[in-house]
Amino acid sequence: MNKRKSSFTSALFVLPYFIMFMAFLVIPLLYGLYISFHDYGLLSNDRPFVGLDNYIAIFNPDSYLSSLFFEGLWNTFQFVIYSVPLLVIIGLGLALLVNSMPAKLRGFFRTVYFIPYSISVSVIAIIWLWLLDTNSGLINNYLTKMGFDPIPWLTTMPYAWISIVAATLWWTIGFNMIIFINALNEVPEDLYEASSIDGASAWQKFIHITLPSIRPIMLFVIITSTIASFNIYGQPYLMTGGGPGDSTEVLLMGIVEQAFEQRQLGSASAMAIIMALIMIIVSIIQFKISNPAKKGGEQ
C-alpha cells in the first residue's frame, strides 16, 4: 500500500514534464510521421494517403526533392564537421581558462562568455553582418589599415563557412563552457593532490585525470553540439542568404521552403523525418565510439 502510494506520488512529479513531452514532442512527432505518408498540401482539402511516395521521391535522383534534400544535407554536414570540434575544444578551453582564474574574476568572465548565448539569432546575425561587411565592416576596415586586402567574408568560399562557424561559436560557446565548468568542479580535488605528490605535470594531470573524469559530460556536449549544429538555420539564412549561389543553403532552409513556400507539408515532413533519423544514427555512432564496451561498475 505504502509503496503504491509512493509510486503514485513520484508519477505526479513527472506529470508536468510528461504532459509537455507529449504535447510538444511525441504528438507532433507522430503527427509529422502521419503527414509524411500523405500528399499533404497546406491549402488543399484532398490529402490522399500516398504511402512511401514522399520518401521515394527524396531518393529518386530525377526529382527536385532529391537535389533539395541532398545538397542541403551536404551543406549541413559541412557545418557540423567544421563547428562541432571547435564547439567542444574551445568550450573546454574556455572552461579551463575561467576555472584557473582568481575566484573574484571567475564569476565575471563566466557571465561575460555566457551572455551571447542569451541573445536571439537575428541580433547575432546583425552584429556579425556589420563586423564582416566586405566594404564597410569593422574587420575589413582594420585589415585595410594594416595594409591587407579586404576579405569578402560572406560572399566567397571558404570564408562564408568560416564566418558562419565563427558567429555560431561566439553565440553558443558559453553554454558548453558552463557545462564543462561544472564538470571540472566535480573532479575530486584529492586526485590532483595525489598526482602532484607523484610529480605529475599540469599536462599529465589534464590528460590522465581531468579528461577521463569529465568523459560522460564530454559525450553529452559532443552529442548536444552535434544536434544543435544539424539544426543550423538562422545564421546562414540571415548572414549569407544561402549564398554564394546556394553553397550555404542548409537542409532546414530547404525543408522550411518546401513546407511553407511550396506548402507541401507531406514531402517536407518526410525530409524532416529522414533528417531526424540521420541525427539519431550519428548520435548513436558517437555514443558507441566514446563508450566502447561499457565496463560493469563504471558509470
Partner: protein
C-alpha cells in the same frame, strides 16, 4: 509496477483524447464571428505601417455605428502560414485580409478566395482605382482583390554626394547613359565612395526583373522560361559590368551591404522599395527619391508588387456589405496609409492635393503606369530561385552570365509543371 504502467497508459489515452478534442474544437466558428456587422481583418503590417492601418480602422469605427472592424496584425514572417491554416480549416478565419498581389494566384487556384466580379462595379467603383491595381488582383479574368497600394522599385540618391561630384542634386538620371555618367562621376575609390553599389541578393528580386522588362524581355512568357533570352542575359551582364567594367560598385557586396553603404553616405545611388523610406528618414541622410531611370535598352518599366484586400470564399455573403463599406471608406480616407510611405491605389487619395505635397509618395504613384508584376504562374518563388542563385553567382564574379543562366533555366524547368 504494473499498476504504475497501467496508470500511465490511462493518462496517455486521456491526453490523446484531449489533444484530438482540442484539434476539432471551434469547427463551428468558421467565417469569424456570427454577427454580420462585426468584421475581423488580418494584415501583415508589423512594421511602422501597422499603426497607420490601425488608425484607419479606428477612424472608420468612429465614423459610423453600424459596422465594427477588428484589425489583427500577424507578423510578416508568420503571415501566410497563419493564413493558410485559417483559410484551409475554415477555423478562426478573418472576414477579409490583406494579400500581396503575387500570392493571389496560388490562393485563387486552390479556390479559397471569393470572386469579386459581382461586387466590383456594383458596390465598389472600378474607376476609383488605378487600373494596374486591378491587373495584379486578377487571375484568368476573375477578380479576387481590391487594391490597397502598389509598391514599385524606387530610385534613391544621396544629394550631398551629387553636390560634391558637381552634379545637380535635384536632377536624378533618366536613362542608362546618364546613370553610367553620374555613377562614374560619383565613384571615388580612394575615399571608398561608390556610384551605385550592386546588391547580390535581395532586392534583386525587384531590380533584375525591372531591367529585364526595360530591355523588352520577360522572365516567363506563354508558359516558357526565358532565362537564356537576350534581354535577360543583357540585363545580368549590364549589372555585372557596373562592377567589373565601369567599376562604379565594389565587388563582393554582401546581404544588405548596399543599404549599409547608402546609410553611411558611401553609396550615391540606390534601388530599393518604398518601404525603406522610414530608415532613410531616421538616419538623417540628405536623400532624393524618383522613379527608376530607364536602365534597360528598350522601354520604361518597373517591377512592382501590391497589397490587396481579399475575402475568403467561405465567408458569409451577408458580410460583404460591411466589408465593401469599409473598403470604400479606405479608398476615400487613404492619407494615413500614404504616411507610411506607400502610395494607395485609390484615385481619391493619390490624386489629392494633400498627397501630392508629400515627398516620396507622389514619386511612387508616378510609376503606377509602368508597373509590371510577377509572372502569373504557380510556384514562381520556387521557379525563380535558381535564377536568383545565378544572379548572385554572376554578380559575385564566380560564374559567367550566359552559362549561369543556362544552368538556372535547366534547373527551373523541373519546377515548371
Amino acid at each position: 509496477m504494473l499498476k504504475g504502467k497501467k496508470w500511465l497508459s490511462v493518462l496517455f489515452a486521456g491526453l490523446l483524447v484531449f489533444a484530438l478534442a482540442a484539434c476539432s474544437n471551434g469547427e463551428d466558428s468558421g467565417g469569424g464571428s456570427g454577427n454580420a456587422n462585426e468584421l475581423t481583418f488580418w494584415a501583415p503590417f508589423s512594421g511602422p505601417d501597422g499603426p497607420k492601418m490601425k488608425e484607419i480602422v479606428e477612424e472608420y469605427n468612429k465614423s459610423q455605428d453600424k459596422y465594427e472592424v477588428t484589425l489583427q496584425i500577424v507578423p510578416q514572417s508568420e503571415y501566410y502560414k497563419t493564413v493558410d491554416l485559417a483559410v484551409n480549416g475554415e477555423k478562426n478565419m478573418p472576414d477579409f485580409l490583406i494579400m500581396h498581389g503575387d500570392q493571389i494566384l496560388t490562393y485563387a487556384n486552390k479556390d479559397v478566395l471569393k470572386s469579386l466580379d459581382d461586387i466590383v462595379g456594383d458596390k465598389i467603383q472600378k474607376d476609383a482605382y488605378h487600373p494596374k491595381g486591378w491587373e495584379n488582383a486578377t487571375v484568368d479574368g476573375t477578380l479576387y482583390g481590391v487594391p490597397l497600394d502598389i509598391h514599385p522599385l524606387m530610385f534613391y540618391w544621396n544629394k550631398d554626394l551629387f553636390e560634391k561630384a558637381g552634379l545637380d542634386p535635384n536632377k536624378p538620371p533618366k536613362n542608362r547613359e546618364e546613370f553610367l555618367e553620374y555613377a562614374q562621376k560619383l565613384t571615388n575609390k580612394d575615399e571608398q565612395q561608390w556610384g551605385f553599389v550592386v546588391p547580390t541578393l535581395w532586392p534583386q528580386q525587384f531590380i533584375f526583373p525591372t531591367i529585364v522588362n526595360q530591355n523588352g524581355g520577360r522572365l516567363l512568357e506563354n508558359g516558357e522560361l526565358q532565362y537564356t533570352s537576350e534581354p535577360v542575359v543583357e540585363a545580368l551582364q549590364f549589372e555585372r559590368d557596373l562592377i567589373e567594367k565601369y567599376e562604379v560598385s565594389p565587388a563582393n557586396v554582401q546581404q544588405d551591404g548596399e543599404v549599409t553603404l547608402f546609410l553611411q553616405g558611401k553609396n550615391a545611388m540606390h534601388l530599393n522599395g518604398p518601404w525603406m523610406m522610414n530608415q532613410w528618414e531616421d538616419s538623417g541622410i540628405n536623400y532624393g527619391v524618383a522613379p527608376v531611370p530607364q536602365l534597360g535598352t528598350e522601354q520604361q518599366a518597373v517591377f512592382a508588387n501590391s497589397h490587396n484586400f481579399v475575402i475568403p470564399k467561405a465567408v458569409d455573403d451577408k458580410k460583404v456589405d460591411g466589408i465593401t463599406n469599409f473598403l470604400n471608406y479606405v479608398s476615400e480616407n487613404g492619407m494615413a496609409w500614404a504616411e507610411s510611405g506607400q502610395a494607395p491605389a485609390a484615385k481619391a487619395t493619390y490624386e489629392s492635393e494633400e498627397f501630392q505635397k508629400l515627398k516620396q509618395q507622389p514619386e511612387v504613384a508616378k510609376q503606377f503606369d509602368n508597373a509590371v508584376f510577377s509572372p502569373k504562374v504557380e510556384n514562381w518563388g520556387q521557379i525563380s530561385d535558381p535564377l536568383y542563385n545565378a544572379v548572385n553567382e554572376v554578380l559575385l564574379g564566380q560564374k559567367e552570365a550566359k552559362e549561369a543562366l543556362e544552368e538556372a533555366q535547366k534547373q527551373a524547368q523541373q519546377y515548371l509543371k
